[in-house]
């Protein structure tokens, strides 16, 4: 039994099929990558798993039990927590209070009368953003905000972490440190499902990878297997006779869709105006 099982999920927006009979799993104690070009349906899959989007068809199982019809907060109580691609930090609270609120919420009624404090700073320390603790969350850089969302999730003590493009906004050395942190978190027994565009990071930290294209899972397997898959090369590069060079492939991924990336960045900027 896998920690998370997504089974035959279909999501349609009007005439567009965003997720097309997708099935994949994520295991406890392992890092699973969910990759694919923009618009492939990765974030929509996250929304289906966390309950923010109802699928037109299909099932989601967590620890063997169906959660497809559970409301968002009940899934979280079972042990699923996520970060967001378009940031959802509590902008008018400080970084520390963002995590503190998560702690309070997680502890339920007891937490509401007995405020949490000590371990909050520990979490900030752990993801490496302690120096921003007193700043308002809508004034910190994007990369820091992503780490804040991770810290906030950890405050809810999840069994499964869903990370939506966690490394965008981080520089190279920060990304390396982040990779190590992920490995640590997984080693402690958590399952991690990650949507990520940084192929170097994906290839180095992920144990399993699922590739989505136009809402369909076109390949699943270890990084080496996925790298060699002709369908993946086609989806990423537009043609399949390119030598199977992952570093090269990563370059193309970014160069391929500049306009879309740009739109998202602008919208993120807008959110921080």
């Amino acid at each position: 039994m896998s920690l998370l099982e997504v089974e035959d999920v279909v999501v349609q927006f009007g005439g567009v099929t965003a997720v097309d009979h997708a099935s994949f799993v994520a295991e406890a104690g392992r890092i699973t990558g969910l990759i694919g070009p923009n618009g492939a349906g990765k974030t929509t899959c996250f929304n289906v798993i966390t309950g923010l989007q109802r699928p037109n068809q299909g099932k989601v199982r967590f620890e063997g039990r169906a959660i497809t019809r559970l409301p968002v907060h009940r899934r979280s109580r079972r042990g699923i927590c996520r970060t967001f691609q378009r940031l959802e930090a509590f902008g008018s609270l400080t970084v520390r209070d963002n995590v503190r609120v998560a702690r309070d919420i997680h502890r339920g009624v007891v937490g509401l009368v007995r405020p949490a404090s000590a371990d909050v700073d520990g979490l900030l320390e752990r993801v490496g953003i302690a120096e921003y603790a007193a700043e308002r969350a809508d004034s910190i850089p994007t990369g820091v905000a992503r780490l804040l969302e991770l810290a906030r999730c950890l405050a809810a003590e999840p069994k499964l972490l869903l990370l939506d493009e966690p490394s965008s906004g981080l520089d190279e050395s920060e990304t390396d440190a982040f990779g190590e942190l992920l490995a640590e978190l997984a080693a402690e027994g958590r399952g991690i499902l990650m949507v990520e565009h940084d192929m170097d990071l994906v290839m180095s930290v992920c144990d399993d990878i699922h590739v989505l294209d136009f809402g369909r899972v076109i390949a699943s397997g270890s990084p080496t297997e996925v790298r060699a898959d002709p369908a993946v090369q086609k989806a990423y590069l537009g043609y399949s006779d390119e030598p199977a060079d992952p570093a090269h492939a990563a370059d193309h991924t970014h160069a391929d869709l500049p306009a879309v990336e740009l739109t998202q960045e602008i919208r993120l900027e807008g959110a921080h105006r």
Binding site: F13, G14, G15, V16, N38, G39, N47, T50, G51, L52, Q53, P71, V72, H73, R74, R75, S76, R77, I80, C81, R82, F84, R86, E88, A89, F90, G91, S92, L93, T94, R96, D97, N98, R100, V101, A102, D104, I105, H106, G111, L112, V113, P115, A134, E135, R136, D138, S139, E149, R152, C153, A155, A156, V260, T263, R267, G270, A271, H272, R273
Partner: protein
């Protein structure tokens, strides 16, 4: 039998007009995510414009119709989308609600200003024509209306299903972001749908005018019927919207025909649409949490406890000074302002902290006043009991819509307001039709405050205590969770928070605060009636609360004074009555995006005065202290101060350097605060 037929035809006629209005509402909402509360108000203004063209300027009917429906209405829709509502759909629902309520009030003001009250009639189309169907005479106007609704339905179907732009419109219903990715033009889609939407509102208004008359309020409030119909289609499905509209029209027509016109059920006929709306909202499926909103609202700086106490004390001292210098008539106005300010405090909790909008806050105050008068226990027990009853009613309103969020909650308060206005407050067991109730002044611990001055002082004490309690709440765990819920419901949900009960509690608490204010108000006035708590008054209340600052206690105090002054201003210059509304409405449109409002100017005043004159004053009076550099607030919720001069969201980089952020000098700020109360 013939009476059933004739009432059915009458119902189909009004239903057809509702359908036309409702489809415009659905179109604008689905494509831009802005729910246009002012939809009916636009229809009203356009109906007046049509009257102006066809009756006052004697244009031929066809020309006036073409001008209004083809030029004025779509032009207005385009302009409004371009300059007022653009981008609102991606922000919090509370902002788009406030802005469109601003349009609502502003348009009524404009109409009253341009077309002062006078009897006006618009003849029906082809007035002398008609058909005999069985024993029933059907006018040509009715047939035209029903036929036009079919034409509108067909045209919308063709537009949405057979044209490129229509496909883009349908796509943006689900996901505007996706539309952008696939190369659509959301801006064009948005402008076009607003142009069409306002045209449809205009058409519905013009068609209904010969039947319900050219009235500012009746036509504007018709929008409730349109909401109700549109809700049946979940604000998405046009066919269901048409079904809803026709059903509602017939239901209403039958209610007029067959429900008793006397007794306690008499009010039922008038509230059929509101009941319909309420039932449909309750039956709505679970709302999905939205993600990707713009958030992080610059909150008003949270004052420290000594500072809040200082302000509170200053306010009390100011009012005490007023009580010895003013006559009873003026003191009544001060007491009224205190009432309004307390109701606005309840909005600070609900809207400023919680991000929810109530369109009927005065109704809750009315419940409190009614309970206070009926209990006839003019002491603290009676007062708190009255507040508790109002709180329970507030929770009851939120309870059926537990699963729903923002917009639906706001609309259910509107439906609730209509119900109370027309059915409960005017019933014999309440205030009675055009009647009043007597209420005693409050006594505290056996001491009765019979003088108006003393009573006003007691009210001010209540205001200060409520404000302090709110600040305490805001600093605590609950306050943090409230802010988190406002900033990102999606994140709260994925962190495991069940927001439903929080929302009910929030609504109840806020209604209780308004109820307390209502109870005190009843004691102040001695006699109260349904007219004191009309639904329509809740809208200027909401607008002034936002304009003055719905995130701070200062904003509530300013707003209370402002709202008290509105009728004073209007009765002293009746010719400007409409203009006052227009200024208020469009002011809210301009300021609605910044919840801190004018109060922020007050907060910044001390700082700016100091920057400007501080050095000179200190040179002359050397004992004055230097401005303190901003101390890191002990509560971790301390936020960088907002720059009062720029409206929206500010990142610290643009803040003045720390030295200039010096804590406001409480005394100078107080001096600015007090004269506002002296104004009348």
């Amino acid at each position: 039998m013939s009476s059933i037929l004739s009432f059915t035809i009458l119902g189909l006629f009004t239903g057809a007009a509702y359908a036309i209005a409702a489809s415009g509402l659905v179109l604008t909402y689905t494509t831009t995510r802005v729910f246009n509360i002012a939809h009916g108000a636009f229809g009203m203004v356009m109906a007046f414009t049509f009257w102006d063209f066809s009756q006052r300027q004697h244009m031929p009917t066809w020309l006036a119709l073409v001008l209004v429906l083809g030029v004025v209405a779509p032009g207005t829709g385009w302009l409004v989308q371009r300059f007022v509502t653009r981008g609102l759909g991606e922000g919090p629902v509370s902002v788009s609600l406030v802005v469109t309520v601003g349009l609502f009030v502003g348009l009524i003001g404009v109409a009253q200003y341009i077309w002062p009250p006078a009897p006006r009639t618009v003849p029906p189309f082809l007035a002398d024509e008609g058909l005999q169907i069985g024993g029933t005479y059907v006018t040509a106007h009715q047939i035209i209306t029903i036929a036009l609704s079919a034409v509108v339905a067909a045209a919308l179907y063709v537009l949405l299903n057979r044209t490129r732009i229509g496909t883009a419109m349908r796509a943006s219903v689900d996901n505007p972001m996706l539309l952008r990715l696939f190369g659509g033009k959301p801006d064009l889609v948005a402008s076009l749908s607003w142009a069409i939407g306002i045209s449809l509102a205009a058409l519905a208004g013009i068609l209904l005018t010969p039947v319900i008359g050219l009235s500012y309020y009746d036509l504007t409030l018709l929008v409730i019927n349109a909401y109700a119909a549109a809700m049946l289609g979940r604000l998405k499905s046009l066919p269901l919207t048409f079904v809803g509209a026709m059903g509602l029209g017939i239901l209403q027509s039958f209610a007029v025909a067959y429900l008793p016109s006397e007794g306690n059920l008499a009010g039922l006929r008038a509230v059929v649409p509101a009941l319909f709306l309420f039932v449909v909202i309750v039956a709505m499926p679970q709302a999905q949490l939205r993600i990707g909103q713009v958030k992080g609202i610059v909150s008003a700086p949270l004052p420290t406890l000594p500072k809040s106490l200082g302000w509170g004390g200053g306010l009390l001292a100011g009012v005490a000074a007023l009580t010895v210098t003013m006559g009873d008539a003026d003191l009544l106005l001060v007491g009224t302002a205190a009432t309004y300010a307390m109701v606005m405090l309840s909005l600070v909790l609900l809207t400023g902290y919680g991000g929810h909008v109530s369109l009927a806050q005065f109704t809750f105050a009315g419940v409190g006043a009614l309970a206070y008068a009926k209990l006839d226990e003019p002491n603290l027990v009676g007062l708190f009991l009255a507040a508790g009853i109002a709180a329970a009613v507030g929770a009851l309103v939120a309870l059926p819509v537990l699963r729903l969020t923002g917009l639906y909650l706001a609309l259910s308060t509107l439906a609730f307001g209509v119900l109370m206005d027309k059915m409960v407050f005017q019933a014999d067991f309440a205030f009675g039709y055009n009647g009043t109730l007597r209420a005693q002044r409050l006594s505290v611990l056996g001491r009765e405050f019979s003088s108006t001055g003393g009573y006003v002082l007691v009210m001010t004490v209540f205001f200060v205590l409520m404000a302090l309690a709110l600040l305490l709440l805001r600093r605590g765990v609950l306050g943090r969770v409230l802010i988190a819920m406002r900033d990102s419901p999606a994140a709260c949900g994925t962190l495991g928070l069940d927001m439903r009960w929080f929302r009910v509690g929030l609504f109840g608490l806020s209604a209780g605060m308004a109820g307390l204010a209502g109870g005190l108000f009843a004691g102040l006035r001695g006699t109260i009636g349904a007219a004191d708590f009309q639904l329509f008054n809740s809208l200027p209340l909401l607008l002034l609360a936002v304009v003055c600052g719905v995130t701070s206690m200062t904003g509530a105090a300013l707003g209370g004074v402002g709202l008290m002054l509105l009728p004073v201003l209007q009765s002293s210059r009746p010719e400007l009555a409409g203009l006052v509304f227009a200024v208020l409405g469009f002011g809210a449109v301009a300021l609605g995006r910044d919840p801190n409002g004018l109060a922020n100017l007050v907060f910044g005043l001390g700082r700016r005065l100091d920057r400007r004159f501080g050095d000179r004053v200190r040179a002359a009076v050397p004992v004055l202290p230097l401005p303190r550099p901003r101390v890191e607030d002990d509560s971790a919720t301390a936020v960088p101060l907002a720059d009062p001069l720029s409206g929206v969201l500010i990142v610290p980089e643009t803040d003045p350097p720390a030295g200039h952020r010096a804590a406001d000098d409480p005394t100078s700020a107080q001096q600015k605060e007090v004269p506002a109360h002296v104004a009348p």
